[in-house]
Symmetry: C2
Subunit: 398 residues, 2 copies
């Protein structure tokens, strides 16, 4: 088939008829959205702009209804108080959607990341039509309220995504579901683990890491490498399926068709199998049951937790060797696993590192955003799309 995944923008090089040279304004908007800037004074100190340019830029952003300026309250220091840069009350919004296993959520997010509205629901039937209808209804409710201000719909899905199509979401039992029907808007879609990793890098535990690896154990294991704020989603958007690296027993067949996948050794199914020789169809619930049993002293469960923590640690070590992240963040079951068996994990992790990495072992931290990561990440990719030359041009022409 060949699923080409064009990068969100390409950010039009100089040329093109009557180029709007808005590089400077875009840069300011992005810094503002990222929360690295809050006042006009910081435009001069952090970005090195002259005060004249800061004025010019903010004036244009103001008249384009992108930012709102407000006198800052005196801060006690000397000198004239600076001006706060706030999201414009009539500015552009992103509608972010998170479709999870048992719930869905729709959020309307403004520049800077604040959530203006939120709708959630439970998934009773996992039929794609049923879920999509519920979500579409919630989205259209928000669109009625916020109107043209909403620029894109950005959806997080627990599965493999290609363009706006969900190629496969095994635990929703979806195959080839098109998300572009959710709204009459530009639609973006992404994998939940990818997006939660992106969120950790932008607004979570990895904000200071130039290269961050995020790993999420849920049903199977997924994740993403984020380099300078950009998720490495690969050529077709399928990147980050670290659970299907063959770190495991080559004799064990994985549902994906391959053998020896890491997946099969680290999620709730592995815990249930190792603890009680159980086959589990609900890996998340199974994981919590085994972890709870281990906490209350069940020796078989404790051994299973230990063994899975070691399998996880060993794989993380290998990934650090290969990808050399500054930091690893984990979420989902991985968080509990690390809390339950920190030493087993750590021993296996360090033992799996090449000598070079042992001199300064990259820290492994629990995610800061937890389950919210996916929808926050979706909002981030949404704003990545809005905060481009074409996105702003479209906004001004609305």
């Amino acid at each position: 088939m060949g699923c080409h995944n064009p990068p969100v923008d390409t950010s039009a090089r100089p040329g093109r008829a009557t180029a709007l040279r808005m590089e400077g304004r875009l840069h300011v908007l992005r810094e503002l959205h990222a929360g690295r800037i809050a006042t006009r004074a910081e435009l001069t100190t952090r970005l090195g702009l002259s005060r004249a340019s800061a004025l010019e830029i903010t004036a244009r952003l103001r008249e384009a209804a992108l930012v709102h300026e407000e006198a800052a309250p005196p801060d006690g220091r000397r000198g004239r108080p600076t001006t706060l840069l706030l999201p414009h009350p009539e500015g552009p919004l992103v509608c972010a959607v998170d479709i999870a296993h048992e719930t869905w959520a729709v959020a309307v997010v403004e520049l800077g990341g604040a959530v203006l509205a939120r709708t959630t629901g439970h998934i009773s039937s996992r039929e794609a039509d049923s879920v999509l209808n519920a979500v579409r209804h919630a989205v259209s409710g928000q669109l009625d309220e916020w109107g043209q201000r909403v620029r894109v719909l950005s959806v997080s899905v627990p599965g493999t995504v290609c363009g706006t199509r969900v190629v496969q979401a095994s635990n929703l039992r979806w195959r080839d579901v098109d998300l572009s029907v959710l709204a009459d808007l530009p639609v973006l879609a992404g994998n939940d683990a990818t997006l939660s990793g992106l969120a950790e890098s932008r607004r979570g535990a990895a904000v200071d890491a130039d290269v961050a690896l995020h790993l999420k154990i849920d049903v199977g294991l997924g994740g993403i490498l984020v380099v300078n704020g950009a998720p490495m989603t690969g050529a077709t958007g399928g990147g980050g399926e670290f659970g299907h690296l063959p770190f495991g027993d080559p004799r064990r067949r994985c549902l994906c068709g391959a053998h020896g996948c890491w997946d099969t050794e680290v999620d709730g199914r592995a815990l249930a199998r190792l603890a009680w020789q159980e086959d589990s169809a609900e890996p998340r619930a199974a994981a919590q049951r085994v972890l709870a049993a281990a906490r209350s002293g069940d020796p078989a469960a404790a051994r299973a937790v230990d063994s899975v923590a070691r399998a996880f640690g060993r794989g993380v070590g290998g990934l650090v060797n290969a990808l050399d992240p500054r930091l690893i963040t984990v979420s989902g079951v991985a968080t509990d696993l690390l809390a339950a068996a920190p030493e087993s994990f750590d021993t296996a992790y360090r033992a799996g590192l090449i000598a070079f990495q042992r001199t300064s072992v990259p820290p492994v931290r629990a995610s800061a955003l937890g389950e919210d990561g996916s929808i926050i990440g979706a909002a981030e990719t949404g704003f990545d799309h809005v905060l481009t030359e074409s996105g702003i041009t479209a906004w001004r022409a609305r």
Copy 2:
């Protein structure tokens, strides 16, 4: 220790006192260097510049001794012939060095990638001092000839690199060797597999791939993921050590200190061990001996080749799942391995893919540049350094 690896440039954002707005010129220079542009007419067609801007830009590049313009010979089509854009005869150069296992090479490269001069030598003693002295002598010979035109020295080393220090190069038996002594110039250093992957992406078999994975089997296995022309070298420059992913038998200890490294199952040591239960200290030579024996009918050797090809294929499948490259290029022993046992490799490769990747299996191709990749890649990183705002400013101020 924490080896921070600052990105080559950061390409100075707008601001800064009296900003030289040379974005346009830099873009043209980079396209020119990449070979995507050869004439002034292409500046308008490919980059979308106006003819007026093309004139302005080339005039400035000409007076800065960066490009040379020359009338193009009539091409048979109608219209006034365009102007060729050539590297300036007194333009900036990069001195690229490749230190390999048994040889070293020094090359002087001009804008566009043409090699103007080349010195090579054999490595008799692997003592760092001895090798560095020989290389330094060759480099200083070139510097005498080319003078101030040489802007940076860029070195490829078969080992782990951090800044200008070789942290470890096991088959040269180097530890903590500083390369900045090689010349009184800005020195850059990179891993040989990383740089040959970069070279394949820029000028080799992967020029059309937005996301390319390169794998080189030599002594152990190394490689690199290149995304939009940028090598993913990680936080400290140690990225790409794919050989130390635990794809192998967890009982087998690797020299790196970890267990079950892929490395131990795919290089010449693995071939010698599997074919003849031999311990080999010269993996490259051993690989060639086993491959030759397999070609001439030795059944034990053939089985070994087959088994290693399968181990390699399985790992490549896993990496494709994780990184989702558009294309994989291989070099070193991997090329011979694929040629010797294409079906074993391919079967294992496909069997290792998740369902999603099987719909359009990323091709695995032999590298186009072969052993030259490392030095070409070194020259590329050298020009990445020269073709920045600070690099050009320094050039103009020379």
